[in-house]
Symmetry: C2
Subunit: 407 residues, 2 copies
């Protein structure tokens, strides 16, 4: 009930600083008096924060205002040449990196194939090297980098950033955050890919009327993340949203996680490809066989969707079954969470609107309450850098919350 006055004052000071910073990012260029009005703190407090920001080169002067009489106010803006931060999306096949300036503007992005994820330590060194090389290419010094956020598919332990399990990579217990941190002076943070994706997607598709978003990532694997208000709901240990490992078919195939009949094992991009590979190896009469040129092992989910689009009955069966299972999985999460929006993202969503419609029909069929809900199901942005962008956002939010930023 009682509170710690010193802690409280430090929190207020930090909140003021953060609000002035945000005001400069969102509404700058802007003068001191206007900041004070917008943030609703006193002009002397704004002046002290602004002085500090000048000293740290966080902001710069962009001239004098022309309005009013008397002394003309100095116009301030975030200094976009001084500090940067990075977001890295560690994908199973592709690595994507974005670099932001202090105002949140994206100054560059790049992608490269990732290669074999073994041995883990070498793979992680390689990822780090690619990121550092890219930063160097942008003529940014390491001491200008405030931090780097990494998004990794799999179960990531909150706080430590350790990979509990990453079935797509075959990793278990990998101290990813520690290994990434080695030799890097700025803070490094590892988050689950879908959590990072959800942070960016729900912000990109922001609307005031939405309270809780369930973001579902349908790709090579399947994951989900929960956004309440503007915040990521991480769960107790950081491993919420594991929709891909919910059992939807107890008699179904073995999942890479070790369980049987997980949603991921029956409806992910990998599962779709695998199902087609198995069938085509025995029955060549399908558009899929044509698309893969007879090489069953070379079939990927995209080919199956393409064949389904062309009306191939075998492909349609596989795709419809995946959509039905995904709908069941989502209905479970909706029954439990009661969100008002489900965002469908990930590679599988690039295969046309029919897939989304089938998922929606299955979800609605299996929901507890079919009436009385205000639930929107919509496709995500389909932006291939969304996860990397989310990783950089999560990093900055975390650094502000931890009050460890040098600015």
């Amino acid at each position: 009930m009682a509170y710690d006055k010193k802690l409280y004052q430090a929190q207020i000071a930090q909140t003021n600083k953060y609000n002035v910073f945000r005001c400069l990012v969102r509404e700058g260029p802007i003068n001191r008096a206007a900041i004070a009005r917008r943030v609703d703190i006193s002009i002397p407090t704004v002046m002290a924060i602004v002085d500090d920001f000048f000293e740290k080169k966080v902001i710069r002067s962009v001239g004098k205002g022309e309005f009013g009489v008397g002394k003309q106010p100095e116009i301030l803006a975030i200094n976009t040449d001084q500090f940067f931060y990075a977001g890295v999306d560690i994908g199973r096949s592709t690595l994507r990196v974005v670099v932001n300036n202090l105002a949140g503007g994206e100054i560059a992005s790049m992608k490269e194939p990732t290669g074999d994820p073994f041995p883990e330590k070498e793979f992680i060194s390689h990822v780090k090297k690619l990121m550092l090389r890219f930063i160097k290419k942008l003529k940014i010094e390491l001491n200008q980098v405030l931090g780097a956020g990494f998004a990794m598919p799999g179960l990531i332990e909150g706080g430590t950033g350790k990979v509990i399990m990453a079935p797509d990579f075959g990793w278990k217990g990998t101290p990813l955050q520690d290994w990434l941190q080695e030799g890097i002076p700025c803070p490094v943070l590892v988050k689950n890919s879908t959590q990072a994706l959800a942070v960016n997607e729900s912000s990109a598709l922001w609307t005031d009327e939405i309270h809780t978003t369930l973001c579902v990532n349908l790709g090579y694997g399947i994951g989900a993340a929960i956004i309440t208000g503007e915040n990521l709901y991480e769960g107790t240990g950081g491993i919420s949203g594991e929709l891909g490992h919910c059992v939807v078919d107890r008699d179904g195939p073995l999942c890479k996680c070790g369980n049987t009949g997980c949603l991921e094992a029956v409806a992910s991009g990998e599962a779709i490809a695998r199902q087609a590979q198995t069938i085509i190896a025995h029955h060549a009469r399908s558009k899929i066989a044509e698309l893969c040129g007879g090489d069953a092992a070379g079939i990927d989910a995209k080919m199956v969707f393409e064949a389904a689009e062309a009306g191939d009955s075998l492909a349609l069966k596989i795709v419809n079954s995946a959509a039905e299972n995904i709908g069941i999985g989502i209905s479970m999460a909706v029954n439990i969470l009661d969100p008002d929006r489900v965002l469908l993202c990930g590679g599988l969503m690039r295969n046309g609107p029919a897939f989304l419609d089938r998922i929606k029909a299955s979800m609605e069929e299996h929901l507890a309450a079919k009436t009385g809900r205000s639930l929107v199901l919509q496709a995500g942005t389909r932006d291939e850098y969304s996860t990397a962008r989310g990783a950089s956002r999560v990093l900055m939010n975390t650094l502000w919350a931890r009050r460890t930023l040098p600015i």
Copy 2:
């Protein structure tokens, strides 16, 4: 970014009032200066709030302190004779009512059979009548009742307290809160039973180390509720926690909700009884047949558990299958929410520790991350008035939050 100063001040005033009230409830009898120290607000503010509380008969003087020199401070306590509130648990077979005084102390409780839930309006009038009769019997006037919270199994629309669907009662779209409110001068609030139960259970089994609790209610039906910190997570429309209507067996029996293979349809008390009834009607060689005296239609879940306890193989099969399905259902909710505690409550939990152990084994088998989790699975209090108590707690929390209390 900017805030409304008047609103802010009103919030501060209300928070101060609430904190003084809580301090009196938790630490009273107590004097004004001690309240000011504990709540960390000024003595004049405390004095103004205390004067107001005296005027409204919220508090009373219980004498003078004996310590120190000079004027001896007046000792204050919550007035336990003036204001009351009620919690009502509308069960399928039993109605339970608790009445609390303003300090939160329970002054009385009662239970009565509920009878046939049709026609709905008559049933609801009957419930109201039983509650009012009980309050009258306690010699409490209606204007002394601050509010009544009702817990109802089923999907309850947030805000309106309308029953979207109550499969156990066969209700759909029933304006329960409106009908309960008719003719009652104090505020009436309807919440989902498991949500009310969870509020009371997580508070009764409170520990600082727990962040998120998933409370599962295993009874005639199956429900769940989520507590984060000290707060109920209701979801967007109030209908979170519908674990009972998550599909665990797609080829399973039809559920009363209209879907197929819901957890409730294969593992609730009703499902356990129904399975035994069907089998016993055809195979009489079971301990269950003995317990029901040959009357298959009279079999209830308790008999099945009793027979299982005695080693009856048929009963064991039914009970173990229910436990396995419940474990799968819980594993889904844990995969999605990542709580650090699962509380198992409800009638089925009164059947000995073996059932809990089987649920635990199944849950662990089907969890995504078997390591790296700090998850506690524990039995609830087994207190039959827990839901009614939760309903009264939720009511008071809501009235404080809405600032509509006349005190």
